[in-house]
Symmetry: C2
Subunit: 236 residues, 2 copies
């Protein structure tokens, strides 16, 4: 019985996005049979306090909940941690300081996916929660790599992006498509060469409609980008 | 910080089926926001030795691997265990004796789903791995509840069901549909009032095509049935 390390997945934020991460991780793995796939442990705790509320309106701090999950993944023998929630990366430093395990950073994974799609720099649209955008998680890390980031305007956040994300979290996935697609199209019209779907609920909503024809520019699915980063970590 | 028990999911058999289980568990939960969903821990270890090979051709015993997963789920604070793999239930007694946690039985979940679909007894088709059918997991438990079970013939297993399952396990999901649909139709023609998809790879393949029109009788998806049983355990 070999004891190769598991991939630890700190999830539940939201639970549909982390289930989708497990699905995409499996489908993106070259495999002929069960035993070719990656051992992985998904800690799905949807009770982690809302990350955007914590950052923007004094809501409960999610860090103790995030650390509890990391402790559980460490104890089970994981070798690295992936977190399929962009906003939770606002607590990346606090998590990284608390564990010896490498934590794959979702923004770096998105940047690698932009490069893989042939977009080495230039103007990039970024959609995300109000918390992710306010913390400038993408702006800082992508501008460091030579991209300029544009984000939805405040009115678009309130009318399109935030309600779209909330619809996915309440299992009303199909209804979120027109809102999220309109926000992506607006970024294209303002000059974006690609749009990073920088909240793991957004690709779920975008996939519920004819995204490719409705939007017509490259989209970076941060669920897939993180799954591909995990496969690189595992040497697959 | 509340410490309500997690649902433990002993998965990876196969990994696509257990990811789909997490997805369906989420979508079947009445929820308005992340925090309404069930905390769950998925132990996805695809290296568990092949269950059918162990039962039919002297392959490595999967029980030590299954017990390792159960130990991990216990240590993390789970309150019950669901196993989205039908064939693994051939080791149900060995697992149940080794833990104080309740293990939801997938055949009981399927029987509850048959009843919910308005089929209280009569002739039922059961599709599954060669191991599941040889162990008579469904036949014994369903006949106890007043159903008669019919299963694919040996030639159908070799030409349709076993290759269909293997295609799903190698990520060739769409190709499995015609094989699995033909096997289900044959059971209908032999008098089945419904077909239980008694291997968690089979619903994945059946959903890849127009199952309802192509087959035309009630199907019991054992992934959904087990997810509903888990929600009942959690009082949702």
């Amino acid at each position: 019985m070999s004891y190769a390390p598991f991939l630890g997945v700190l999830g539940g934020m939201g639970p549909l996005a982390s289930a989708q991460f497990m699905l995409r991780l499996t489908l993106l793995t070259p495999a002929e049979r069960d035993q070719d796939h990656l051992p992985a442990l998904l800690w799905s705790d949807p009770r982690v306090p809302d990350r955007t509320a914590a950052r923007l309106s004094g809501g409960e701090d999610p860090l103790p909940w995030l650390l509890r999950g990391i402790r559980g993944l460490e104890a089970a023998g994981c070798g690295a941690i992936a977190i399929p929630c962009n906003t939770a990366h606002g607590w990346y430093e606090g998590m990284a300081e608390a564990t010896r395990l490498p934590i794959l950073h979702i923004v770096d994974a998105a940047a690698e996916e932009l490069a893989r799609q042939g977009i080495p720099g230039g103007c990039i649209g970024v959609m995300g929660t109000a918390g992710t955008l306010a913390m400038r998680l993408y702006q800082q890390r992508l501008e460091h790599r030579g991209y300029q980031c544009i984000v939805p305007e405040e009115a678009e956040m309130q009318a399109l992006v935030s309600p779209g994300i909330a619809l996915v979290k309440s299992n009303r996935v199909a209804e979120s498509f027109p809102l999220l697609a309109e926000a992506a199209r607006n970024l294209k019209n303002r000059g974006a060469a690609a749009v990073v779907l920088g909240c793991t609920e957004i690709p779920l909503g975008i996939q519920a409609g004819p995204a490719a024809t409705a939007i017509g520019l490259p989209l970076v699915d941060t669920i897939d980008a993180l799954a591909l980063a995990a496969l690189r970590w595992a040497g697959r």
